[in-house]
């Protein structure tokens, strides 16, 4: 690897060939402000905030787009640079709804942060923002045109990672807008509500829908028993909302914080993740034995369900009929737990904390109402919303003592927690299916070939002499590839796990902002550490799950299971 020597602000620094000035400056301890730059995306260089002086160049150069060349002399803070940068920020603010105090991203906005850091005290320009109506048509995401800085990060995310291209630039010049075609509402186009756009938006142009107030209402309503479930991915990321390093496992603090907010019982989605494995594992084996539709596809990712219903409805029979762990929990909460504690289902207010924005859509589906009237999961809060709610309550997250979940839905295994990472559902399923079929104990519980960020992963498992091929895909552009494989008859797999979001749920649309592979890898690492740290690591060994079957469900795929834990899908092709 060739090393290049450059001078930045009079300091010599050596960097690998191909390094941008932006990244080289980091090595010298200088972060050049930037807005449109994203480490995992193609360089756009349109915001022009990161411009610097390069000796010999007539104009200022974008540091994100300029590669270091041997002997380059760079200055990042001359008056020429500072004036240009300030003016660029002021120009952005002049076409921006500048009411920060009332903004959803107040204190969490890159534009605000840069303006504050570089000392912008006013925008000297005339404000020309066009005051457009906010698009609230999607159940999960909100679009506010008056905040958009046209950086294009959302466009790239939706086009390259998710392969959907819902958003694009419309028009030219100062009429340019980032919207779905024809400026249609998000709720009217084939958006899957995955929220990946909101994870990379540096301002408040795209944000998650906020449902915090509804939860406060319920908690303050003495007539309601308010219970909460927490997804596996939340416990390895919630800490980031409070300044912790990505990849810190904060399960105990998370439980304690929820109790502080006033939830009556704090349960764990990992419990129903274990339950899902039992149901889905048996469903897979039944299909293999009875010649059912194969490959079978997992069904716990609602963004993925939105995708297959809208884009490949002809392949719906491949989906497992199992509900997601969130919805299995909701069904049990209203259809079983209520009775167990002597309450009516409508007295239970069921909240879930999810890394996912599409879960808001899932909870609202007509099929997710066991009594036909009331939603099984009343409100879904994303990880980001929980962070906000805790701040609203003045909870000092870092100082909390660790606490444990409540019974009966607080006990889970390592197989449940790995649902949060891409490949986790597959690995959890294999841990159980292997032992059920072969009657033998697995030597090693780690199926490494299904772990990691590669787009489509494959594995082969020897189940008592039969070689079973499985595959794992994450992000919808890879899901599409798998769909095309199945359509062409070339998918020789028995079972495929598909996650809508890059990295799996830890990369979900409701997670702490950033959306970089660096963040995803740290959270994935935490998921597998959490798995290793649990005493039980196979779903079928979960005593609470066993008890549920003994006391209530009777058997996997039985009548009660079908009524509460399974669902059907709709052709929603647009």
């Amino acid at each position: 690897m060739n090393m290049i020597n450059v001078k930045i602000n009079n300091r010599q620094v050596s960097v690998p060939e191909g390094t941008s000035i932006l990244n080289a400056a980091k090595k010298t301890g200088v972060t050049i402000p930037n807005l449109c730059y994203h480490p995992d995306q193609e360089v756009k260089a349109n915001c022009r905030v990161c411009v610097v002086e390069v000796e010999g160049a007539r104009t200022l150069q974008a540091s994100c787009a300029t590669e270091c060349k041997e002997g380059m002399i760079i200055r990042t803070n001359t008056n020429r640079v500072r004036n240009a940068r300030k003016t660029v920020i002021e120009l952005l603010l002049a076409n921006h709804d500048m009411n920060c105090t009332a903004c959803k991203k107040n204190n969490n906005c890159s534009l605000q942060e840069i303006a504050a850091n570089i000392g912008v005290r006013e925008s000297r320009f005339t404000n020309v923002v066009r005051n457009q109506e906010i698009d609230t048509s999607s159940p999960a995401i909100e679009r506010n045109q008056n905040k958009c800085i046209k950086c294009g990060r959302c466009i790239q995310m939706c086009a390259e990672v998710q392969g959907l291209s819902i958003l694009d630039y419309i028009g030219r010049s100062d009429d340019v807008e980032v919207k779905p075609a024809y400026g249609w509402y998000l709720g009217d186009v084939a958006c899957v509500a995955c929220g990946q756009c909101s994870v990379v938006c540096p301002v408040a142009a795209i944000t998650e829908k906020e449902d915090i107030e509804e939860v406060w209402e319920a908690i303050n309503n003495p007539a309601k028993t308010v219970i909460v479930q927490t997804a596996p991915a939340v416990r390895v990321s919630l800490g980031e909302e409070f300044g912790m390093e990505p990849g810190e496992i904060v399960t105990g603090k998370m439980v304690a914080s929820l109790r502080t907010l006033g939830f009556d019982s704090v349960f764990d989605t990992d419990f129903t993740a274990d339950l899902t494995i039992i149901e889905e594992g048996h469903e897979l084996l039944q299909r293999i034995k009875e010649g059912g539709t194969l490959p079978m596809l997992t069904s716990c990712s609602p963004g993925w369900i939105n995708f297959i219903e809208q884009y490949y409805p002809e392949l719906l029979p491949h989906l497992s009929t199992c509900k997601s762990p969130q919805q299995m929990f909701g069904a049990l909460a209203k259809g079983y737990y209520a009775g167990k504690i002597g309450k009516k289902p409508e007295d239970i207010f069921s909240v879930s904390i999810m890394p996912c924005t599409a879960k808001k859509f899932e909870a609202d589906r007509d099929e997710m109402k066991v009594d036909g009237k009331n939603a099984d999961v009343d409100v879904v809060l994303t990880t980001r919303e929980l962070g906000k709610m805790l701040k609203q309550a003045g909870v000092d997250f870092n100082k909390l003592e660790e606490e444990d979940y409540d019974a009966p839905f607080g006990l889970s295994t390592g197989a449940g927690v790995i649902f949060g990472a891409t490949g986790g559902v597959m690995e959890a399923a294999l841990r159980t299916v292997y032992e059920v079929v072969t009657g033998e104990t697995l030597e090693s519980l780690d199926f490494n070939m299904v772990r990691g960020l590669e787009g489509i992963k494959e594995a082969e498992v020897d189940l008592a002499g039969t070689i079973v091929k499985v595959a794992v895909a994450h992000s919808l552009s890879n899901a599409r590839k798998v769909m095309e494989l199945i359509k062409s008859g070339k998918a020789e797999y028995a079972f495929i796990e598909i996650m809508c979001c890059p990295g799996g749920c830890i990369g979900g649309g409701g997670q702490p902002l950033g959306g970089t592979d660096e963040l995803r890898l740290k959270r994935i690492d935490a998921i597998y550490r959490a798995d290793k740290g649990l005493p039980l690591r196979k779903s079928h060994e979960n005593p609470a799950v066993k008890q549920l079957y003994d006391e209530f469900l009777e058997k996997p795929l039985g009548e009660k299971s079908h009524h509460l834990l399974h669902t059907h899908y709709k052709n929603r092709k647009k």
Partner: protein
């Protein structure tokens, strides 16, 4: 000075003398004989001839053509591309349209020679969508050239394959900018992108690409015919050859004139253009087009020559000369210019997209007489920022006219600052 000594017909020598849709007319006046000669030369020798000629790009940027061709020849990566930029959208310019409509084969011959020299097999002519007649004329000419075996596989049994495809622009001035042009050829919106790398090493589909203006390619056959040395005797030290000048605005005889580089602006306006109608005085002249500088009449003795222009912090760009007489209101003209750029900006980068809107707001204040001293300072800030931080030439050059008016006609702005002290009775 008589018109005969002033103008020099090289590129326009066939205008009016041949039928544009007749390849036989072109051939009978010596056309395609040069390229046949060139096919027996080496690429390096051809490029050497172009370098000796001193030919610089005629689209406005003025980059040495020989150097550009050399870069493409040396660059790694195949296939290579050659693109003729016929997206003539700069207000005041019509030379490329007239070249295409009157002598299309001249362009094709120039492209074939260049492609041969650089080892390129794929060519494009990017013609703006509004130029429907040009598109038709060029397409007919290309087909004629193919029939004669001057384009296609194994041209004249030399083993050299080369063909040209016409790409139609969708109506966007910014697509005349190299990078927006490349993106448009790929079928996308013409949003400029950052550089480096430059098209010569990383152009169309990331392959080495030579992009040159119509007029530039038209010079190639003449250079190869007379020799680079002879060509370099026309013009000045820093500007060799002839220039097609588009004269328009308030003149008696607007039109296309071909003059040796080094001719003064005044002689073009007075001797060729017949001066200003009704003997009016010239207020200001814009050089190159909307993105060019404006100069007062006191500077009209400047020569169309890179050295002299640069020495005065000016540029003649693509060679258009727009004459404006004393009746015009300078700020109205500036408003027209900025509105043009606002309409044509691709909207990708902040300084250009937001800057042009803000510039218009400020200009309107000066026009209405409500501007303050702060507005003048803010105008300076905008000019500086756009010039320094825009991604491409459109944003960088858009404030040129305003900048020059502030320098040469400061009273137009200072005289319209609303003074809190002034009392109107």
């Amino acid at each position: 000075m008589s018109n005969d000594t002033l103008s020099k017909k090289l590129l326009t020598s066939r205008f009016g003398k041949i039928k544009a849709d007749s390849i036989d007319d072109y051939v009978s006046t010596g056309g395609y004989s040069v390229f046949k000669k060139a096919l027996s030369m080496s690429g390096d020798d051809i490029i050497s001839e172009i370098k000796t000629s001193g030919l610089k790009g005629r689209g406005g940027a003025g980059f040495p053509t020989g150097l550009k061709m050399d870069s493409v020849k040396q660059a790694e990566g195949t296939p290579k591309y050659i693109i003729c930029n016929a997206d003539e959208g700069e207000p005041g310019n019509f030379k490329d349209r007239l070249l295409m409509e009157n002598d299309p084969h001249q362009i094709i011959e120039g492209m074939i020679i260049s492609a041969f020299a650089t080892g390129t097999n794929h060519g494009y002519i990017f013609i703006r969508g509004e130029y429907i007649k040009s598109i038709r004329t060029i397409e007919i000419a290309l087909e004629q050239a193919r029939v004669k075996g001057y384009l296609g596989d194994n041209i004249l049994d030399t083993g050299f394959d080369f063909d040209i495809v016409v790409h139609t622009g969708g109506g966007s001035y910014v697509c005349g900018e190299e990078f927006a042009l490349l993106v448009s050829i790929e079928g996308k919106s013409g949003r400029a992108t950052y550089k480096p790398p430059f098209p010569t090493t990383c152009g169309l589909y990331n392959k080495p690409t030579q992009i040159n203006n119509v007029e530039t390619f038209c010079n190639i056959p003449h250079i190869m015919d007379m020799g680079g040395e002879e060509f370099s005797k026309i013009g000045t030290d820093s500007s060799k050859g002839t220039k097609l000048v588009c004269l328009s605005g308030n003149v008696v005889k607007p039109g296309l004139y071909e003059v040796p580089l080094g001719t003064t602006i005044r002689s073009i306006i007075d001797d060729l253009g017949g001066g200003v109608p009704n003997n009016r005085e010239i207020k200001m002249v814009q050089l190159g087009g909307a993105s060019g500088p404006v100069i007062p009449k006191s500077m009209l003795d400047l020569k169309l020559c890179v050295k002299e222009m640069n020495g005065n912090d000016l540029s003649f760009g693509s060679g258009a000369i727009i004459v404006m007489d004393e009746r015009i209101r300078v700020l109205d003209i500036l408003k027209r210019i900025i509105e043009f750029f606002r309409h044509e900006s691709c909207g990708k980068c902040t300084p250009c997209r937001e800057g042009l809107t803000q510039m218009l707001i400020l200009l309107n204040r000066f026009i209405e007489g409500t501007a303050t001293k702060q507005d003048l300072a803010l105008l300076d800030v905008l000019i500086e920022t756009m010039g320094q931080a825009s991604i491409c030439g459109l944003g960088q050059a858009a404030p040129t006219a305003i900048k020059k008016v502030l320098k040469y006609f400061p009273e137009e702005f200072e005289g319209r600052i609303h003074s809190m002290d002034s009392v109107t009775v």
